[in-house]
């Protein structure tokens, strides 16, 4: 795979003659393929471009935050086109919903959402190349094949360059005439393919948001009130302005803004401000108060069916931050008639809309360049930092780059909501889990659907299963964190099921298999139990735990082995069996499961955001609790892929890994930890 930075590609593309450029317009459910104006050289508003030299450029419509979509999405196009993958170039689409369809990266939906349109784009281009070759060779298009960048029919053979000129003159074939490859014909999809950006990353050439440098660009930083709902009380603008290179100091909507010639002087300016804050209405709020409010919200349970052995438990998780590796940043240049934005964002199309609203410019005058994202995990679904940067750029008149410090990132996130659960369940006379009543509370608005008890869909057949979901008032801003509500629903479901198994004297794997209603999930459990050696004796101080999850169109079982060593929980191995329907890139799938499992290790054992005096107590990586390499278990990933379309993958590896670890801690110690992070609770 040749990787080309956007800059290289622009250079290559400039001044070229006719080529074939196909764009896709997605309107509702309709997908239309259109031919772009081929008299212009480089046209980035398209998914597939074949230049007169035969170079294939694929536009990745969605941002890459580490989940690997610049690779996996390009694979979809290249597969159907029959391109030589080693020579394909990938460029990143700007924010533009009309041209590229929805571009948000969330909900493990990128590959699923682009599975149809991107393969169609590739197949349409292939059909045009085949038609062009058929015409020249006097054969039917059916007699022409394309593979590895070569077009051939019988003894005749040519390159993309040989036929792209003719193909570009043909009308775009109707969608109904395009046949997509069946799975057995795939030569690229399903193979382990390495990241297209690897070389750029390892040489330091990859361009993240912070790496955008523009002539005349200034750096902006903001001193924000630490407490939620707090205000700026006073600041010493003169002291900041006294630093050479500090250009402007003013109070903006979210705090005191310092604009300087470079990042260090902006930082010095922020320090010199000596800003004082009013903590505001939430000055008394802290984590203990959150827990108190949760407990107060718990209601009496309805009756369980009679004759059950009753088990009761409460579970609790703290707020947690996303903390992507690259701190929040955004570069903006606004002139009288246009606004240009460079942002690591999960929502490029929406950023264009919000910039148009904020500047009063037509969306056509707003360009949103999407850089690589130094991590996302849901944090960059929020555009708070982008709105700040637009506001500053409107005042500054020069290009500005807003830089958040790590402390800003830790203290001003939209956190995964703290959550609390009261559960009552029972096992029947045979010892099998039979009932589960679950009150689930989330800090903030919550996910309640009109209040009251509703039926709950578990993957297990049980006689009584109901849930009550409510939000509990909190001043802490919240947002989606990798796998969203599944971060706690599966933790509770799978830990409590384990409790019921133990109360009834049942083996957690056998009881799950006996009650499991989904055959695909059941198969992952059977295979995982076998691969992990479920039931085999463990050394003293070790324990093994299991948990399962279905979601995002995929199914997974994870079995964790933990060792309690010197009073610490060490996760040594996690075996995962995932059924994702169809595997686009097995290497990417393994990476996502490994990464999500590491997220689970960190958040099950160490990570928390505590609230004190209405503000986040933690500052930086040192006191948040993320795991390091010594905490990383060996993660073994087995993939079941005998379906016809891909399931989601970015979030699938997280939800079950947390309860698998906690169930393993119980197996090792006999202590049932129900409040996270477990490292604080281990006796």
């Amino acid at each position: 795979m040749r990787t080309a930075s956007r800059r290289t590609v622009l250079k290559v593309g400039a001044g070229l003659g006719a080529g074939l450029v196909l764009g896709i317009r997605v309107r509702g459910d309709a997908i239309e393929i259109e031919k772009a104006n081929t008299t212009q050289g480089f046209l980035p508003n398209a998914f597939v471009k074949i230049d007169p030299q035969g170079v294939v450029t694929i536009t990745a419509p969605r941002p890459d935050m580490g989940q690997g979509v610049r690779t996996s999405l390009a694979m979809l196009v290249a597969e159907e086109l029959g391109a030589d993958w080693e020579k394909v170039q990938v460029v990143q689409a700007p924010g533009d919903r009309q041209t590229y369809g929805g571009q948000t990266v969330a909900g493990s939906g990128s590959v699923r959402g682009s599975w149809g349109p991107l393969r169609l784009a590739g197949a349409t281009a292939a059909a045009m190349l085949r038609a062009a070759a058929a015409k020249k060779w006097g054969v039917t298009p059916d007699a022409v094949t394309i593979a590895k960048g070569r077009i051939s029919s019988g003894s005749k053979s040519g390159s993309f360059a040989d036929f792209v000129g003719e193909a570009a003159r043909l009308p775009v074939p109707d969608r109904s005439s395009i046949t997509l490859k069946t799975k057995d014909l795939f030569t690229l999809i399903g193979k382990p393919v390495k990241r297209v950006d690897n070389e750029a990353v390892v040489t330091g050439k990859a361009v993240f948001g912070l790496d955008v440098r523009l002539p005349g660009m200034k750096t902006a930083m903001i001193a924000r009130p630490p407490a939620f709902g707090g205000k700026v009380a006073s600041f010493n603008a003169e002291a900041a302005k006294a630093i050479e290179g500090v250009r402007d100091v003013y109070e903006g909507p979210t705090g005191v803004v310092v604009i300087a010639d470079d990042t260090w002087r902006a930082h010095k300016g922020i320090e010199a401000l000596d800003t004082k804050f009013d903590a505001g209405p939430n000055a008394e709020f802290n984590s203990a108060e959150m827990t108190r409010r949760f407990k107060e919200a718990v209601k009496p349970f309805p009756d369980l069916p009679s004759g059950l052995k009753v088990v009761e438990a409460t579970y609790e998780q703290p707020f947690i931050a996303h903390n992507p590796m690259e701190p929040m940043n955004c570069t903006v240049h606004i002139t009288n008639d246009k606004c240009e934005i460079w942002a690591p964002t999960q929502i490029p199309d929406s950023v264009r809309d919000l910039a148009a609203r904020a500047t009063g410019l037509d969306a056509s005058k707003v360009t949103v360049h999407v850089t690589l994202l130094g991590g996302g995990f849901g944090r960059r679904l929020s555009a708070d930092f982008i709105s700040e940067a637009i506001g500053i750029a409107q005042r500054a008149k020069t290009p500005i780059q807003l830089v958040w410090t790590r402390i800003d990132d830790t203290k001003h996130d939209n956190y995964r909501p703290a959550n609390y659960h009261a559960v009552r369940g029972g096992v029947d006379a045979t010892g099998m889990p039979a009932a589960m009543l679950w009150q689930s509370f989330e800090a903030g608005r919550g996910r309640g659907r009109g209040g009251g008890w509703t039926s709950l869909r578990l993957p297990y057949s049980m006689s009584t299963v109901s849930v009550l979901q409510e939000g509990v008032a909190s001043p802490v801003p919240t947002g989606a964190w990798r796998s969203v509500e599944h971060t706690y629903t599966i933790f509770v479901q799978e830990c409590f099921f384990d409790e019921l198994c133990h109360a009834g004297g049942q083996d957690p794997v056998k009881a799950r298999l006996a009650l499991m209603t989904n055959d695909r999930l059941k198969r992952t459990l059977e295979m995982c139990a076998e691969k992990a050696g479920w039931g085999k004796a463990m050394p003293k101080g070790w324990g093994r735990g299991v948990a399962c999850f279905s979601g995002y169109g995929s199914h997974i079982t994870q079995i964790a082995d933990v060792e309690i060593k010197d009073g610490e929980i060490k996760v040594r191995r996690v075996v995962a069996v995932v059924d994702c329907g169809l595997a686009v890139n097995p290497l990417g799938i393994e990476a996502q499961i490994q990464g999500a499992t590491m997220d689970a290790v960190s958040t099950a054992i160490g990570v928390k955001i505590a609230i004190q005096n209405g503000a986040v107590r933690q500052q930086n990586f040192g006191d948040i609790g993320w795991g390091r390499i010594g905490d990383a278990p060996h993660v073994e990933v087995h993939i079941i892929a005998d379906g016809d379309s891909p399931g989601g993958m970015g979030e699938v590896g997280y939800p079950a890994a947390v309860p698998a670890i906690l169930n393993a801690v119980f197996a090792a110690t006999g202590q049932r930890i129900r409040r996270l992070p477990a490292g604080d609770e281990l006796e």
């Binding site: 890459d64 912070l210 440098r213 990586f621 390499i629």
Partner: protein
């Protein structure tokens, strides 16, 4: 502001900055060497790692005034004559996810292999502990270090 002359990737560079400016920001904003990353600003994540006198150094904790004539090598300097064995191993093992921390990881791995040409997993865990990867690529980092060790032997 004050002038400092430092040696970076074998070249002498003179910059005019505040004396307490961390080397990180000099590299990135004065010299345009953007492969060295800002992750935490406290020396706690390793994203800003460079080699100074051949040893892993947190450039965000190194004021320019304290660099003197000690030679600095950044990720850009590692691959001046083609990819380093560690970089190749990183690509072969497909280590990067988001990629933001990886240049720092590679710098630390190069230092590690200099000290321990055949490291065990435990030695890797110990010597790479200062480098944080939020994506959790640790397992592949271990594999890549073992691969590079073999290549370099």
């Amino acid at each position: 502001m004050a002038k400092f002359t430092i040696s970076v990737n074998g070249k002498r560079e003179t910059v005019d900055v505040l004396p307490d400016t961390p080397l990180l920001w000099v590299l990135r904003e004065q010299l345009g060497l953007l492969g060295t990353k800002y992750g935490c600003g406290l020396g706690g994540c390793g994203a800003c790692s460079v080699l100074m006198d051949g040893r892993t150094t947190r450039s965000c904790q190194t004021p320019i005034s304290e660099v003197h004539d000690r030679p600095i090598v950044t990720i850009e300097g590692i691959s001046e004559k083609g990819l380093h064995a560690v970089q190749k191993a990183w690509m072969e093992e497909d280590v990067p996810q988001c990629g933001f921390c990886q240049t720092g990881q590679i710098i630390s791995a190069i230092s590690l292999l200099k000290a321990k040409p055949k490291p065990t997993d435990e030695e890797i865990d110990e010597m790479m502990a200062a480098n944080f990867c939020r994506c959790g690529t640790y397992e592949r980092i271990r594999k890549a270090i073992h691969r590079a060790a073999k290549e370099m032997a």
